[in-house]
Symmetry: C2
DNA sequence: GCTCACTTTGTGATTTTTCACAAAGTGAGC
DNA sequence: GCTCACTTTGTGAAAAATCACAAAGTGAGC
């Protein structure tokens, strides 16, 4: 005789029923370890469970620990309740867990904390029974979520397809995002088109980022577009963003090394009217980083690429023969007739702010060689003591020349 | 009984007649010392005369010498022939000169070289008579020239009034300028609207510039617009231009200190279609130099202002609240709450390429103070080791903030 | 008026960069 | 193959920038 009913109207009532049947606290999570339901149980709870309920998801540290120790994998593979010894380092008391699966696809998990006495066979059977019932409910929820998220994805793509917003779209966007928050649009660009499997994994990683709040996201070919904002104060939004971007990109490159993911982040914006422009900025960053991986290896946000943002336009003008820089032209001419590398040397000399040692190290040559070349350049052109504005323009001209418009 | 006829058909025949009457070489010049006519005389000539005839104008060195020594002024004031002792330093033998005037307005000069024996009273009288006859001829020429030049001036203003050329205008422009020559459009901007008197003097100085060839020029309010090209090779056009611009501006500022003349030179262009754009560039240079006299004190050509060319556009965007730079914003905030000058310090630190000594000298503070402030800035923002592209963008943001759109 | 945190200036040791000069390497043209 | 002009590398002396540290100055807030 089963201890549970055939079905329950919600996961919450199910969690409550299981909890009462085995007299232990129950939490039900989706496959992203987001909290779906939990039983009310006055006593015997542990820090991990409290943190999970407060944060509406299992703390990242706990998830990592469970993955690294192989426990989670075991739970997924087993298909029946697994008893897990306490892991006090991450605040986890002893518990039992069972996966909720549908044809090898993980839908979620049911967790139960151990009371003072260990789980009996019957109690574990009840858990298993609960998982079967939860499956039906989760499938309904998953389908619904999938429909919603697919709809939102189409909506975002629709918004980004045109530079100007329709009034209806603007209204809906303003409902989605809190006002007066510094939003950003981030592009995660991959080497190949993003498959549904990859998308799923990316969404998961994205959902587990604690510094940011995602408003909307969508897949567009090789890019995952994310509209988000930082949870920090406005005053250090930029600092936090840049620190996060570095960590996040590192994480992505560790987890998805075969996709060579690269970030591009727009400047901050406050009006949904700016979404289109922000997407352009973010994409400009990824494009430029693709073309100048070395120079822009640590530039992820539009602010960080500095005057590189002007390179495509300048390259276009050079392509149209509207623009040339006499100084650069002369050096290029000298280079080609003497097999030298004056332009390259000058470029890095400017980039490294006149630091001969670093230029030499970068180009793998003797510092005196750099010094010699700089003197040579000074003889050929009179950029001996030009100041920042002119130097940057020359640097820009060199970079724009390297930028290829075709690809 | 007069030795000369009442009138001659041309200045050449007049010069010849005077030359024969007093048996000495004669040259007739306009008020700009451009050669109008000269007598053929086989012997007794001097280097100055040869140079004048070859170059179709009196060498600048000779003119300067005659002005500085006060001789030319004496000739103009006298209204009758003046005998001038030899000035061998500038290749001038002894000669007599008389001004050709009409109501105090100088129209030109007649010069006569001395032979071995000095000028007799009668010969000087013949010179005077020649000046009277020349006056009529010169007045006709001057009137004609004035009509032509006024017409050309109107034409240039007409061309510059619209971004696109009419076919008729393009055709006429192409007739005026030699093809495949690197043209420039230079603006000479004065503190006050240019009066006809000032215009006259400016035209004179312009006409005596040996490095450039003027195609057209026109007055537009406070600006004298000059379409010209360098007489040098294309390969070092820029070098020659920049050197010329420095000399020329110095000259203008010496001669017209009350008008505070300032140069603005476009990039080079080859097609007359670019005239409008070139005028914009040149004007942008003068505008920026007016707003940043110190920073752009030695930048006269559009190439030289470097990324300053982007300042107006950026200032506009900042004005529209489309653009801010978080780093700069934070420093500004610190400055205003701590009465410090971090932004200013950073600005010049960037400008002087991180040279602490020069920054200190410029700001009249101790080098260690600069060092201290830079460390402070590094604490507040993380621009510790940002490279040229980002540095320039920050510099641009600072400068654009200083740029006022209104005036 | 006093305190305290912050800023500026001064001094000399320490480190880094630049410079002059020599020597060796490179390659195009005869 | 040789020459010659140009380029690169190496060495140590000379010059310059940076640094730590002390002392003096400044001003807002109590």
């Amino acid at each position: 005789m089963p201890f549970l009913l055939k079905s329950y109207e919600s996961l919450d009532t199910l969690a409550e029923a299981i909890g009462q049947a085995i007299r232990a606290p129950i939490t039900i999570e989706n496959r992203h370890h987001q909290l779906l339901a939990y039983s009310t149980h006055p006593d015997s709870t542990d820090p991990a469970r409290i943190a999970t309920i407060i944060g509406r998801r299992v703390p990242e540290a706990v998830i990592e620990d469970l993955w690294e120790s192989g426990i989670l994998q075991e739970v997924i593979d087993q298909d029946e309740p697994v008893v897990i010894p306490a892991r006090l380092a991450v605040g986890l008391g002893e518990r039992a867990a069972i996966v909720i699966k549908q044809h090898d696809e993980v839908l979620g998990y049911i967790w139960s904390l151990a009371r003072t006495n260990p789980f009996s066979t019957q109690e574990l059977a009840i858990l298993q029974e609960g998982a079967t019932i939860a499956k039906k409910l989760l499938m309904t929820i998953a389908m619904h979520e999938r429909r919603i998220s697919a709809e939102l994805e189409r909506f975002l793509l629709d918004v980004l397809a045109s530079p100007t917003l329709t009034d209806a779209n603007r209204e809906r966007l303003n409902e989605l995002a809190p006002i007066a928050v510094a939003s950003r649009l981030t592009v995660i660009e991959c080497a190949q088109p993003i498959t549904p499997q990859l998308a799923e994994r990316l969404h998961y990683v994205l959902a587990t980022q604690e510094s940011i709040e995602v408003v909307l996201h969508a897949i567009d070919g090789q890019q995952l577009l994310v509209w988000h904002y930082m949870k920090s104060e406005l005053s250090d939004e930029e600092t936090v963003l840049i620190a996060w971007a570095e960590r996040f990109e590192q994480l992505l490159q560790d987890k998805f090394s075969e996709s060579e993911p690269r970030l591009g982040i727009s400047r901050r914006f406050f009006e949904s009217d700016m979404l289109y422009a922000a997407a352009e900025e973010a994409r400009r960053v990824t494009t430029l980083r693709r073309k100048f991986p070395l120079e822009l290896s640590t530039s992820r946000a539009f602010e960080q690429i500095g005057i590189y943002q002007l390179v495509p336009e300048l390259a276009r003008r050079i392509g149209l023969r509207l623009e040339t820089h006499p100084t650069v032209e002369r050096l290029q001419h000298y280079d080609s007739s003497h097999q030298t590398e004056l332009v390259k040397t000058l470029e890095w000399y400017f980039y490294f702010d006149g630091n001969v040692k670093r230029v030499a190290a970068h180009l793998h040559i003797h510092p005196n060689t750099v010094l010699y070349r700089i003197r040579r350049i000074e003889e050929l052109t009179n950029i001996t003591q030009v100041s920042l504005p002119e130097r940057s323009m020359i640097y820009l001209a060199i970079k724009a020349g390297q930028y290829r418009l075709e690809d």
